[in-house]
């Protein structure tokens, strides 16, 4: 995605903490394909969906300007992911997606609303978000494990193969397969928790 113009520099100045910058980067990685996909699903053409995605990030970046680092409000990361979630869920509940408007003003309005979507939209968003987050997390942690360990996890936990047969196919012991899948699963879960600052 193109750099968000004009906000990038001031944003980096604002987010002097490296952890905060990382949180913003990870938000982009997850929400960019997510919002794009949701917008397409709403019937927008590619160019419009891209533009909408940009606007969403402009709105969030503007909200960051108003972020008040108050220890009682929890971490920046947690706050950031929460507002992005609220905004996107609110967007989903609108029937006319193109009414959101240019320049991010429409999105800013959505940010300030309390989440008012129906349970159905919230659930739908939750699943789509989780799908994107899982994909991202799996990509991030994959390099930490050996090939055979990863295969053992993928074959049994994702593709649902029988554990004994997988062990046989990969020439590992059954215990090793159990160890592999649980370890990677735990790591995945931790990565997801870290993502949202929990």
């Amino acid at each position: 995605m193109n750099e968000i113009p004009d906000t990038r520099h001031s944003l980096l100045v604002r987010l002097c903490d490296r952890g905060d910058q990382q949180a913003w980067a990870e938000l982009l990685e997850i929400y960019e394909p997510l919002i794009y996909r949701l917008a397409r699903r709403k019937g927008l053409q590619h160019a419009d969906a891209e533009e909408l995605t940009q606007e969403a990030f402009v709105a969030v970046a503007a909200a960051i300007e108003r972020w008040d680092p108050d220890p009682n409000r929890g971490s920046f990361r947690g706050w950031l992911f929460r507002i992005a979630r609220n905004m996107t869920v609110n967007y989903l509940s609108r029937t006319r997606p193109e009414n959101v408007g240019v320049g991010g003003t429409g999105f800013r309005h959505l940010l300030e609303q309390q989440p008012a979507a129906s349970a159905e939209e919230a659930t739908f968003f939750g699943r789509e978000y989780r799908r994107e987050a899982f994909r991202w997390a799996a990509g991030e942690i994959r390099g930490e494990f050996q090939e055979s360990t990863w295969k053992a996890f993928w074959a049994t936990a994702v593709e649902g193969h029988n554990i004994k047969e997988t062990a046989h196919a990969l020439e590992m012991s059954v215990g090793a397969v159990y160890a592999a899948r649980s370890r990677i699963m735990a790591r995945l879960k931790r990565k997801l928790q870290q993502l949202e600052g929990r």
């Binding site: 394909p33 019937g43 989780r130 215990g175 649980s182 370890r183 699963m185």
Partner: protein
């Protein structure tokens, strides 16, 4: 009831294992214990994540959309797409019963685990081969197409031919068989998503990826063409991207022919989506391997823009567009695509097969060169541009589309740019007003009309004529002022100048937007 025996590990040790805090010896001992102790196996799993997480992981990460056949991605409102689905929920009555409670049924010696997808021709199942202990994908011909004995024979014959193609970018076919009167063939199971699913998910791809995927597809096609096999149904849904390595695997070879005859004789309607079909195919003419190249061009278009090149309300309208119209210029939808790539797609998209690249191998080689140059710009030379045989289609359309802009540009230019325009004019950049032999194309207003089918077409005519006249006057004036060499010797500098004009035009377009 879990049996706790002496060697069972305390929960905190399991926790330590998950946090990587055990010594190597302790780990080895634990893993050995896990070989047999089901209590500890379950405890470990629940410590790692709760039950919902485990089922989530399966749902969220398996990209093959296993389960039911639902419309891919949901809702691009395109009725032509529904032609692709035979049934929303396929009936699996043809499966034999199985002892394994986790499986849906049996087909031959294979245990069927689930449905991967359905298409116009049949159903693709995911199955487990007990004999060889591996996953396979089974494609079963749709029952309504399998009634005629000749269709079944043809299906088997095509599958045999496809099985003969052995290539790293073609899904290998293991077996062809028949069960309960239904022919099916067994392929390797390729975990991963199709290019169609990928484009649904992320939209247009980056240039290096487009090159890589197209190159691998072309290589697979070359192998099949060498065996005398034409795919006939190249489209993003038939291009699989293998998990993890993102290697291209082409599937569904040679089968479109089986369907054409069977379904055409029955209802006169073409089954399956024709959006990626070649014009000669759509017209029912003789088809050779170059039809696959047209389809490859359409696939590349989809990778560049995120949508297929020819879309319409009905299948028939799509076919008409394929035969008679040019798709919307790539750079209008995605300006980041470089012109050399647009040229390659346009060459593949020539209506006349003789005007396209003639072999998949040369396409693969060319794409490979471009990819190598992109990855190592300093050491690998950039491949030469394709020689243009016809008029310069897309920028001209955008140029004429904004005649007001054109007028502004003219008025702010100095003599140098006027000279550029003049040369551009004379060498066919604005070809309708020139007499150069290769430019017997459409007039600008007709080109605009063709692309934009809209009521505003008439508005442009007057503007277009005015700008044409202005340029003509300028060019005449310029060439009277200088000694001019014959046009042929200008060709090198002309393409340079054309480039600059395009660049300027894009800048102006961007600023105007």
């Amino acid at each position: 009831m879990m049996v706790v025996n002496r060697s069972c590990r305390r929960p905190d040790q399991l926790r330590e294992f998950l946090d990587n805090r055990l010594t190597a010896d302790q780990e080895t001992a634990l893993v050995r214990h896990l070989d047999t102790c089901s209590a500890c196996q379950q405890r470990l799993e629940l410590l790692a994540a709760d039950v919902d997480d485990w089922s989530d992981v399966q749902e969220m990460l398996s990209a093959g959309r296993e389960g039911q056949c639902d419309a891919a991605g949901g809702d691009t409102p395109d009725p032509a797409a529904t032609d692709d689905r035979v049934d929303q929920k396929p009936s699996l009555d043809f499966l034999a019963p199985t002892d394994d409670p986790a499986m849906l049924g049996r087909l031959g010696t294979y245990e069927v685990a689930g449905v991967i997808g359905c298409g116009g021709m049949g159903i693709v199942l995911k199955a487990f081969d007990r004999a060889l202990s591996r996953n396979v994908a089974i494609k079963v011909l749709a029952p309504q197409l399998a009634i005629s004995a000749s269709a079944r024979r043809r299906f088997a014959r095509e599958a045999q031919a496809a099985a003969a193609v052995v290539h790293e970018h073609v899904v290998p076919i293991h077996a062809v068989a028949e069960a309960r009167g239904l022919p099916y063939f067994v392929m390797a199971y390729v975990p991963g998503e199709s290019l169609e699913q990928r484009l649904e998910r992320t939209g247009p791809l980056a240039v290096p990826e487009i090159l890589r995927i197209a190159m691998q597809t072309a290589a697979g096609l070359a192998a099949a063409h060498a065996q005398g096999l034409v795919h006939r149904d190249i489209k993003p849904a038939n291009i699989l991207l293998e998990n993890g390595v993102e290697r291209v695997m082409i599937t569904d070879f040679g089968l479109a022919r089986t369907v054409d005859d069977a379904s055409l004789t029955r209802s006169g309607v073409i089954a399956g989506t024709p959006r990626y079909m070649a014009p000669e195919q759509a017209q029912g003419d003789g088809v050779d391997h170059r039809a696959d190249l047209f389809s490859l061009g359409s696939v590349m278009y989809a990778m560049c823009t995120g949508r297929p090149p020819f879309r319409a309300e009905t299948a028939m309208a799509v076919l008409r567009r394929i035969c008679e119209e040019l798709p919307r210029p790539i750079r209008q939808i995605n300006p980041e695509i470089p012109d050399w790539l647009v040229e390659i797609v346009e060459r593949l998209h020539e209506k006349d097969p003789a005007a396209r690249f003639q072999t998949a191998a040369e396409v693969a080689a060319l794409l490979g060169q471009h990819l190598a140059h992109l990855q190592q710009p300093t050491t690998v030379p950039r491949p030469p541009r394709l020689t243009r045989r016809r008029r310069f289609a897309s920028p001209k359309r955008s140029w004429w589309r904004r005649p007001a802009l054109a007028a502004v540009m003219l008025s702010t230019l100095g003599a140098g740019m006027v000279g550029l325009l003049g040369i551009g004019y004379l060498t066919g950049l604005f070809s309708a007003v020139s007499d150069l032999p290769e430019d017997r194309g459409l007039s600008p207003s007709a080109a605009v009309g063709q692309a934009y089918d809209g009521p505003s077409e008439q508005q442009w005519d007057a503007e277009v004529a005015r700008v044409q006249q202005t340029i003509h006057d300028i060019a005449v004036g310029w060439f009277q002022a200088a000694d001019v060499q014959p046009i042929d010797t200008w060709s090198e500098s002309v393409s340079e100048l054309k480039h600059q004009i395009e660049g300027l035009q894009h800048e102006l377009n961007d600023q105007a937007m």
